[in-house]
Subunit: 305 residues, 2 copies
């Protein structure tokens, strides 16, 4: 890609760091990634990590380049705190609320976008990074109003109206899967391939159970273990069941959020496909939007505003 880089888009999450060079026409001039996520860095390390990630991309630059950063780099324990916007909020002001951390390398002018919080007592919630994807959604699907789901470690359910976030809720589905499959007694009954007919059969059984009785999640979890002991369920079946159960309980428990319209699912194709199966069982249509596409559209919109 030989297009001239006009600015740099960065998604700096807890686990990973990704950067894209953006040309004047919006095309991508280069992309870089690293595992040096916010969770592994102390605040003084961020500038050096960014410079080194962009080293061979920046060698021939003359002018100073904007670097627009979203994600956990703006957390209190990140590079520099970018105070939250309070939901309900309009994301059209996302870019103007960015903070500017110091940077010794004068070729780069970084800005970090804020996250969004919800201070309502009993419904406190926070996001960092997903707000940029929602702003991207408003560019990719102009005029969209309704609920968007961003599946992941901490799934976000977000009520969106154009570029506004009305309210949101985080469901710890991905992290529950991770800690239960690594540290609980269920680990003894899990494993095997991440795809295949056994895994699929377990997923479907778990999905049905979770959708039907999200209020019994803590009880149905143990079916993973008991199914292995009594019914000879394979580790692949168990992993599928646990995944389906947690996703089903998430979707079933959020039933009051469904508004009837098509639901954008923003995330990886594989994970979004699993959520789409669950939503379809409730008669809810969905469409998958690639997470990177949403992030880039959001960073572009934030910079343009």
């Amino acid at each position: 890609m030989s297009a001239t880089t006009e600015w740099i888009a960065v998604d700096w999450g807890t686990s990973n760091l990704r950067a894209w060079g953006i040309a004047a026409d919006g095309s991508i001039s280069f992309s870089r990634s690293s595992h040096r996520g916010m969770g592994k860095l102390a605040p003084p390390e961020f500038p050096g990590v960014l410079t080194s990630l962009l080293a061979d991309a920046t060698d021939s630059w003359g002018a100073r380049l904007d670097v627009l950063v979203c994600g956990m780099a703006g957390a209190r324990q990140g590079w520099m705190e970018a105070p939250y916007l309070d939901a309900p909020t309009d994301l059209s002001c996302l870019g103007s609320a960015a903070v500017r951390p110091a940077m010794a390398d004068s070729r780069l002018a970084p800005r970090i976008l804020p996250g969004v919080c919800q201070r309502l007592a009993g419904a406190e919630d926070v996001m960092r990074g997903e707000e940029t994807q929602v702003l991207g959604l408003s560019a990719l699907l102009p005029g969209f109003s309704g609920v968007a789901i961003l599946p992941g470690t901490h799934s976000k359910w977000i009520e969106v109206a154009g570029s506004r976030i009305e309210r949101f809720s985080t469901v710890m589905t991905g992290e529950l899967f991770e800690v239960l499959s690594t540290h609980s007694v269920l680990r003894l009954s899990l494993g095997g391939d991440t795809a295949g007919p056994e895994r699929d059969a377990g997923f479907d059984a778990g999905l049905d159970a979770g959708l039907a009785h999200p209020e019994k999640l803590g009880g149905m979890l143990f079916k993973v273990r008991a199914g292995a002991l009594l019914s000879g369920r394979s580790p692949a079946w168990g992993s599928g069941f646990l995944s389906g159960l947690l996703i089903g309980a998430e979707i079933g428990g959020q039933r009051d959020w469904h508004t009837g319209g098509e639901v954008p699912l923003i995330g990886s194709a594989t994970l979004c496909g699993l959520y789409a199966r669950g939503l379809a069982l409730l008669g809810v249509a969905s469409r998958v939007i690639d997470a990177t596409d949403a992030t880039l559209a959001g960073l572009k919109a934030a910079r343009a505003a």
Copy 2:
């Protein structure tokens, strides 16, 4: 205690081993305990661990003593597998279903009681140890019919009719608390004293939330983290909230099990007290029965039958 030991009652769980000498009149002649639970032992180690636990208690014995064992020692990966009874089942045959592991020390004649399983597809479940407490309950509260709750790492809800187990369900409440507070992002917002006004306030808030919306457990868990970030909630409040939320979601999710009568709670006084608070909010009366009392009553009843 100088009463002559007639037999020995043993509760051999995953984490701990406890033994009591029982005299002819049912009184306790001695008691011993150790941390050498089933989870830390290979099958050939069990006889030696038992002999050594009872060493100074058995020195002066002449006759061979019955040792009646309940709990995880009878699991497949324990001392010797004691095959499950299938629920629904009458526990009056518990003693006759015991298995007899080999024992080099001829002074001891051990028998291991079976657990109970439920093979119904989709409701598979297992218990080892709790069945003995239920048999004890039928001796302590003769004629009791209804639901008993055994709170713990794996809480058991058991529909009991006299000495019969009609059905049961395991809820992983204690283990969820453990893995989430040790391994999830929530650990950053937990800690402090295990008692006190902050912990109590958090517990009450979590209990209310869990009882009202057990179907939203995966979403409300994140309020621990968001409450700390946004509302300055203390680690003690967070730990109380997490505990209350999980217990509330357990009780709220099992609402269809409540039959209207008084619920026996079998466990530690502290934990049972927390469950009693949750049940009371639903208008359900409960009474606490000490776990050791129930275990001993059950082992006595199993031996007498």
